[in-house]
């Protein structure tokens, strides 16, 4: 009896510690990502003028306008100081130009929208009374909007990136898939060496490959074109696709194809009717892998594009070039990360299968 109890306790202790470890790992993974997202919703004021920085973005900002002999003063509530702090131009008047500047300043620094009309009304209240406090809802997506406005050609870059990814998927999946099928289904001389050497293709840094490719692509008329870039990306992705599709095809028994051949179709027909539908999830996962790979690549794209940069290139240039404006850059990063994360969510189910294991 005591033994049974002991065993039960031990088992549940084991289970609990497993979960504790899992939750711990999950936290370690999520923790930095959370701040990446969090920063992308913060205003300049939150990121630069509060210390310690807020951990979560606020949804609104509190302001105060006061008046003394020199003129009006604007204050903003600073959470870390727990007090109103001077904000913006030290002194201003109620003439139209000043008010408009104030409006712009508030929008830029605190991501809060307020109309000039409203400011004038507040100033009138200040005139009659002593001071006025007001709260404005923050525009959470302001950084994103600003990023796409400020960073030159961001929407076009997204389009370029999508085209590059699409072409990369197409090239690497067809060529790599054929190779993967050969590795999965046939025995031939030098098979193992060949399979290992396709991994070695990745030894030559993509950036170094990109440099001579400039000339080759220029000759082909593909320099600074999405297709040209995808030709370079496919070098690495084909080798990945070969490995992934090989394990996908290996998980489909040959006898399913053979049965189809006995029951009236050709080898090609068997592939079409039987193998392809069964491999589709795995192939989709492989495609997503190529997508993530090409969507995220930076440096070859820096080398191989000029007027048609991809999205990662402009985010990279924004980050390396401009010191500061971290909230803007995190917004760009998140904008770039979100599609990749969404695709990860889609391929999650197949990823283990893709590497030759079974579905979780």
């Amino acid at each position: 009896m005591a033994n049974v109890l002991k065993r039960q306790i031990r088992r549940s202790a084991k289970k609990t510690s497993l979960y504790i470890i899992l939750v711990g790992i999950a936290c370690i993974i999520i923790f930095p990502v959370f701040f990446l997202f969090s920063f992308s919703f913060m205003s300049d004021y939150e990121t630069y003028s509060e210390w310690p920085k807020p951990l979560v973005p606020s949804f609104k900002a509190h302001f105060m306008i006061d008046k003394d002999v020199e003129g009006y003063h604007l204050f903003i509530f600073n959470k870390s100081e727990d007090d109103f702090m001077p904000f913006g131009p030290l002194v201003f008047t109620n003439n139209e130009k000043d008010v408009d500047n104030l409006r712009k300043f508030i929008k830029l620094q605190s991501n809060c929208k307020i109309s000039s009309q409203q400011i004038v009304e507040y100033l009138e209240v200040v005139d009659s009374d002593s001071r006025v406090e007001f709260t404005i809802r923050k525009d959470l997506l302001a950084n994103y909007i600003l990023f796409f406005q400020v960073v030159n050609g961001a929407p076009k870059a997204v389009l370029n990136s999508l085209m590059v990814a699409g072409a990369t998927i197409l090239i690497s999946l067809t060529i790599g898939g054929m190779g993967g099928y050969a590795f999965a289904r046939y025995f031939f001389k030098g098979k193992n060496i060949l399979k290992l050497s396709v991994l070695f293709v990745r030894m030559f840094p993509a950036v170094s490959l990109a440099i001579p490719m400039v000339i080759i692509l220029a000759k082909m008329g593909l320099y600074d074109q999405p297709l040209g870039l995808s030709l370079v990306y496919s070098v690495g992705q084909i080798s990945m696709s070969i490995w992934i599709t090989a394990s996908v095809f290996m998980s489909i028994p040959v006898s399913l194809e053979e049965a189809a051949m006995i029951f009236g179709t050709t080898k090609v027909g068997a592939f079409w009717h039987i193998t392809l539908p069964l491999a589709l999830p795995g192939l989709a996962a492989c495609a997503m892998y190529s997508f993530i790979g090409s969507w995220n690549e930076v440096i070859a794209a820096v080398v191989l594009t000029q007027f048609n940069p991809t999205f990662p290139v402009i985010v990279y240039k924004a980050l390396v070039g401009s010191q500061g404006q971290i909230n803007l850059i995190t917004a760009g990063s998140v904008a770039q990360a979100v599609p990749a994360i969404i695709f990860t969510l889609i391929i999650r189910k197949y990823i283990i299968q893709m590497w030759g294991g079974v579905k979780v």
Binding site: I29, L36, A182, L196, P205, P312, S333, A337
Partner: protein, 303 residues
């Protein structure tokens, strides 16, 4: 009559034998056009100077430059420690979670986020986090672990601490990736093999050493090769955190020479450097294969 028939069947057999080669052909063609050709081009250009004259000067420039040796030793340090640590942790984790548990699907998704994250995003994440007034210090201060005076100077540390910082960040980024590959391999082995080992009286450690690891060898080889290849090519995160030339590594120097210095002279230096990187990467990968005995297995399978 019989002769024609046997000839016919022979040709059909040879036709069948050609199928795998036909399927592989596009790969080979693609790689000769878009890999071999540029590689040969890069290698030969790296032996020419700006005027197109054959020379070793690019390599001599590199070998005379003390930064190259710093970059080399930094890279070696990073690769050795990060690959080892990442592998051990990932393997431990894979063994730990190699069972079905509630929420395994969600956990898998979370684990995949770091590898889906663009390098630029990872850079932005850590540069905003590790800055002296970044979110990490903010977090620690908000919860009272440190005060303003004792905040960490993550990025301002000495060489050793910055190297370790990179190793930790790299581990955060790629451990899930390695873990998923290993997990897939483990699930491929199946529970029954290990159970059989347990029935025949193996301890957990013995089973791991005598059954699990040998059976996992192909998967481990794949994971290690992929990791070694990409670990040697680490650079973006370093540049995003420290800028160029603060913590020189091989590929960062390639990018610096090619992209940043902006003169054809340096472009050729960059090319020569990248050739060296490729040689180092393949040497490391081959060394790993030799040491781990993967080559022998290949030969055995072929023979």
């Amino acid at each position: 009559m019989t002769i024609t028939k046997s000839q016919l069947s022979l040709s059909r057999e040879t036709r069948k034998k050609m199928v795998p080669y036909l399927l592989i052909a596009p790969v080979v063609i693609y790689y000769s056009m878009f890999w071999l050709f540029p590689v040969i081009n890069a290698v030969s250009e790296s032996f020419k100077n700006v005027d197109g004259v054959w020379t070793f000067s690019n390599y001599i420039h590199i070998f005379k430059d003390p930064v190259f040796y710093t970059a080399l030793s930094n890279t070696a340090f990073l690769v050795i420690f990060s690959v080892t640590i990442e592998f051990l942790l990932a393997f431990g984790l894979a063994l730990l979670i190699n069972k079905k548990f509630k929420g395994s699907s969600i956990f898998l998704f979370l684990a995949m986020i770091p590898m889906a994250l663009p390098a630029v995003a990872v850079g932005a994440m850590w540069s905003s986090g590790l800055a002296t007034r970044g979110w990490l210090n903010s977090f620690l201060m908000t919860f009272g672990f440190i005060d303003d005076a004792s905040k960490f100077l993550f990025l301002a540390g000495g060489k050793m601490s910055t190297l370790w910082l990179i190793i930790i960040i790299d581990a955060w980024t790629v451990i899930p990736f390695v873990m998923i590959i290993l997990l897939a391999g483990l699930q491929g082995i199946g529970e029954d093999v290990r159970e059989a080992g347990a029935i025949f009286g193996g301890t957990k450690f013995q089973i791991l050493r005598k059954i699990t690891i040998p059976m996992l060898k192909p998967t481990i080889t794949t994971a290690m090769i992929l990791r070694i290849i990409s670990a040697i090519q680490i650079w973006l995160i370093i540049v995003m955190l420290f800028g160029f030339n603060r913590l020189p590594v091989l590929l960062e120097q390639v990018v610096l020479n090619y992209d940043q210095l902006g003169a054809e002279y340096f472009e050729r230096i960059g090319l020569a450097l990248s050739v060296l990187v490729a040689i180092i990467v393949s040497a490391a990968a081959i060394l790993y294969l030799k040491v781990s005995g993967s080559f022998e297995k290949e030969e055995k399978e072929n023979g």
